[in-house]
Symmetry: C2
Subunit: 419 residues, 2 copies
């Protein structure tokens, strides 16, 4: 008997029929002798509907009241799923975040979980019930409702799994796992059976939308074995088959890891690049450039500063394309006069392509193969940024698909892997 | 400075524009120096939508989970109203039932309030905020969410007013007060400026839909001055005018009460009558008839048992017309064989008409005038039931409107009353 946490997204909870399917799948796990805790999202569209009402009333709705409002979506979901389980004869009970309680700090709309009490959940599990807990929300020390921000239900599920020391946390979603890259770009992309926590962290931060990065952080911090798998399969598929489907995020490197040095190719097409040319190179210059950018609430991604030549340096960074114009405004109006650079050059049409792999740590020449491959395709590399287990390049955006396909092939990701 | 509780129904909260109007009205009261607590219902249609989802999933949804589900409607409402108030510069904060907390017993879907903690509300009022509390719901001793049943927001509002020792509880609704009778039946019906608690109790139980009877009970138990008034007026009408509009339910009989002996005519057209003929008259016969009816969950209204003649008696009662067939089935299949009555005669087309007035206590001849009036119109009285301040008759339903109009005139209710 294992203790398993299931998480279902809004699409899986999107209609009465889908909720019944979730109930059938959950009951199947319980019937096989497992204890099951379920964390469902709000029905798809519901959170947007609620926030839309608030925005129709006020341009700047208060964050505390937004959380009070938005948290009702998940509360309705847990009750409906409990009703669906009971209807097929499976005892079940739902709890809100404050009933568990899931304690958080007081940062409304983006709270962080501080602790989860497992007493109540455990008592119901021991009584033979499936326990359903609202995702996305908690309660602060003053008894106010908080939410964890968009995608927070993934984080809730992993956090509940950590608190209960669950054997596995299953994230049911509308894709059937983590792929070597996006199959829409590279049809040969393969599903990874296993991915290391570190690789998943890089992929999540590099634009793979499969899991919210905070949930991966949580999984890593508490070493929660987490599996991403499809909610679109027949709910009654054999348990053995379901238990080995999808992609397992693992923390045991000496487990049977993927043989490949590079596990996946991540990319993001919504990047824009700016460069301050001939910045006088003195201490504090990076801060005097990025301070005003941060103050304008602009997220900076890749940052590159070259070796100084003749007392000046070129300083480049990328931002999300949506924030490109705002970035240019801050740079020309505030930064340029202050730091005395020569000019700002920019390119709103760049893309980021990254290779990710825990094997890069111990293998030399991985980055070289990347650069060689791109060069053979005639793709110019504009910026390079590396970490221990990933290398990212910024290239002209029209070459993005070509680069991803070439790298996918060069690193052998289209080969069927050995068991 | 007074402490005022406002209650708004689902229609008043039915759209973004209406929520903004509620906010304007509430802010006006606060600006005049009053402390205001608001208890809004769920947006109209929302509770039905939620319960509909549950019924689509299960024919018999669990009561605890229904409360978990339905309570989200009011939670969304309080947040939206807080946002609307803040948007026009009025500090406000919303609370759910469990946050106050409003404590109840554990009778899911029809819980009763046991206590309300006023500490949190008072602290916010003292800080200059309008406080918005969810109606309809509370929390039981084990921390489960409960709801008070349909119309429970009226009860919540009066209970909050009682806990805070509020100066007045204003129930904003889509009628502008309590009338001598339904104006759709008698165009001359007048709005009562004041009605006694006892009269309001009788009217609520006799079918007047203005206030839920439990809220009137609560108002009576804690002597909460409660006013029924219109939410359809311009939100910015002068406060003086608004404060004296509608109908005040009062507990001070020596206050300037309505001069009339009879205050109102109540009626209900959905009655059905059954009679067991020639029931052997022995102890316990009433229980052997009504026991199986109660066991079948049928509500009995008027009960009449005549003097026994030659050892047998006729036993009649009325039920809601929807339960007529079920009642006949129970009587013929279970009761008739058991008590040995001669037969069951029935009439599914009767109506109940009642005169209500606190003055009836000290005035003789009130019932006689009622009977004389009906007789002059040629209306046959089938059953009579009386209490200290009301007399009800059962008549053929096609005469109902005629009876109501004749009685309204006979008791002078169409006369403009003296101040």
């Amino acid at each position: 008997m294992a203790l398993i946490v299931h998480k279902y997204g809004g699409t899986s909870m999107g209609s009465v029929e889908r909720i019944k399917n979730v109930a059938r799948r959950v009951a199947k796990w319980h019937a096989a002798g497992h204890q099951v805790v379920v964390v469902p999202s709000a029905m798809s569209g519901e959170t947007n509907r609620l926030i839309g009402l608030a925005k129709d009333i006020s341009a700047q709705p208060d964050a505390r009241e937004l959380d009070m409002l938005a948290s009702t979506g998940e509360q309705a979901s847990v009750a409906l799923l409990a009703i669906a389980l009971q209807d097929i004869g499976q005892p079940a009970r739902s709890y809100t975040g404050w009933q568990v309680p899931v304690r958080t700090d007081s940062s409304y709309t983006k709270a962080r979980i501080t602790s989860i009490d497992d007493k109540r959940i455990r008592a119901d599990l021991d009584a033979g019930r499936v326990v359903i807990v609202t995702g996305f929300q908690g309660i602060d020390d003053d008894g106010h409702i908080t939410t964890l921000g968009r995608g927070g239900s993934d984080t809730s599920a992993v956090a509940v799994a950590a608190a209960l020391k669950a054997d596995e946390c299953l994230i049911y979603t509308d894709v059937d796992g983590v792929y070597t890259t996006d199959p829409r770009v590279v049809p040969e992309a393969r599903r990874l059976r296993v991915v290391s926590f570190e690789e998943m962290m890089e992929m999540a931060s590099l634009g793979s939308k499969v899991l919210q990065i905070r949930s991966v952080e949580f999984a890593g911090k508490y070493r929660v074995p987490t599996r991403v798998l499809s909610s679109l399969t027949d709910p009654m598929i054999p348990l053995d088959e379901e238990m080995t489907s999808g992609t397992l995020i693992t923390f045991e490197e000496d487990e049977k890891m993927e043989a490949a040095v590079v596990s996946g190719i991540a990319f993001s097409r919504d990047e824009a690049k700016v460069t301050l040319v001939a910045v006088p190179d003195k201490p504090g210059v990076a801060y005097s450039i990025l301070g005003p950018i941060a103050a304008a609430n602009i997220d900076v991604d890749v940052i590159v500063q070259n070796q100084s030549v003749a007392g000046t340096t070129d300083f480049s960074f990328t931002v999300h394309r949506n924030e490109f114009q705002k970035t240019i405004d801050v740079l020309t109006q505030q930064v340029l006069p202050a730091v005395g650079a020569k000019e700002v050059v920019s390119d709103a049409k760049v893309a980021k392509v990254s290779i990710v792999g825990i094997g890069m740590r111990s293998h030399v020449g991985v980055a070289s193969l990347m650069f060689k491959t791109l060069s053979e395709e005639g793709i110019n590399i504009q910026m390079i940024s590396t970490s221990e287990i990933k290398t990212s390049v910024i290239i002209e955006d029209k070459y993005m698909e070509l680069a991803v396909r070439a790298l996918h092939k060069a690193f052998g990701l289209d080969q069927v892997q050995e068991a």
